[in-house]
């Protein structure tokens, strides 16, 4: 079963508004990554946050990580129509053996930004 749960499943906003997506997971992690997928194409890597980090920024993106609650959030500020896509969180398990590098994906949030 998927490790991560994301909410909301779908989010519809107007251009210029902020969009917040949440991700929860079940087991201890090494890092958590956020991806964007446009129209069933390949995934674009957005941000990686390590388990000892609490917040990271990249342009209009801000990611937080709360390991005590096993949750993360992705904030997109001043959204644009071009941000319309599906967003996925993915967790990398702690080091060791066959877990090396493997990602477990959440169910994703479909974001629609209206012009």
């Amino acid at each position: 079963s998927q490790q991560g749960e994301e909410d909301p499943q779908a989010l519809s906003i107007q251009e210029g508004e902020n969009a917040t997506m949440n991700c929860s997971y079940k087991t201890s992690i090494n890092n958590l990554q956020w991806y964007r997928q446009n129209s069933g194409r390949g995934l674009v890597h957005l941000i990686l946050i390590r388990s000892n980090e609490r917040e990271k920024h990249s342009g209009r993106l801000r990611v937080t990580l709360d390991t005590s609650k096993k949750s993360s959030s992705l904030l997109i500020t001043a959204s644009r129509a071009a941000d319309t896509a599906s967003y996925f969180c993915a967790t990398a398990a702690l080091a060791g053996g066959t877990s090396y590098g493997k990602l477990t994906f959440g169910q994703g949030t479909i974001l629609t930004v209206h012009p």
Binding site: G40, G42, A90, G101, L103, F105
Partner: protein, 113 residues
Amino acid sequence: SAVISQKPSRDICQRGTSLTIQCQVDSQVTMMFWYRQQPGQSLTLIATANQGSEATYESGFVIDKFPISRPNLTFSTLTVSNMSPEDSSIYLCSVGGRDQPQHFGDGTRLSIL
């Protein structure tokens, strides 16, 4: 970051046939991964492809159905065997280390009639 090329980008196949998907990376990488994304769903890891050894399959995926080759550090193939409509999905390869971003190819959109 690594540039990953996947071929074919899409295909329509008859049930009972097999299709081999190729994944080429522009640099040498230790770990390559194959994922499946069923329609409207998230990604599920099929297997980890290691150069010089057998691929490691996740629960629910078997080598007879999804044989994988990894002949060198820049290339891997995934074969979807004896296809049925349930195999209609996007198949993606990716590369990445334990504490590094994982980068994906554009995927292969497969439809089975």
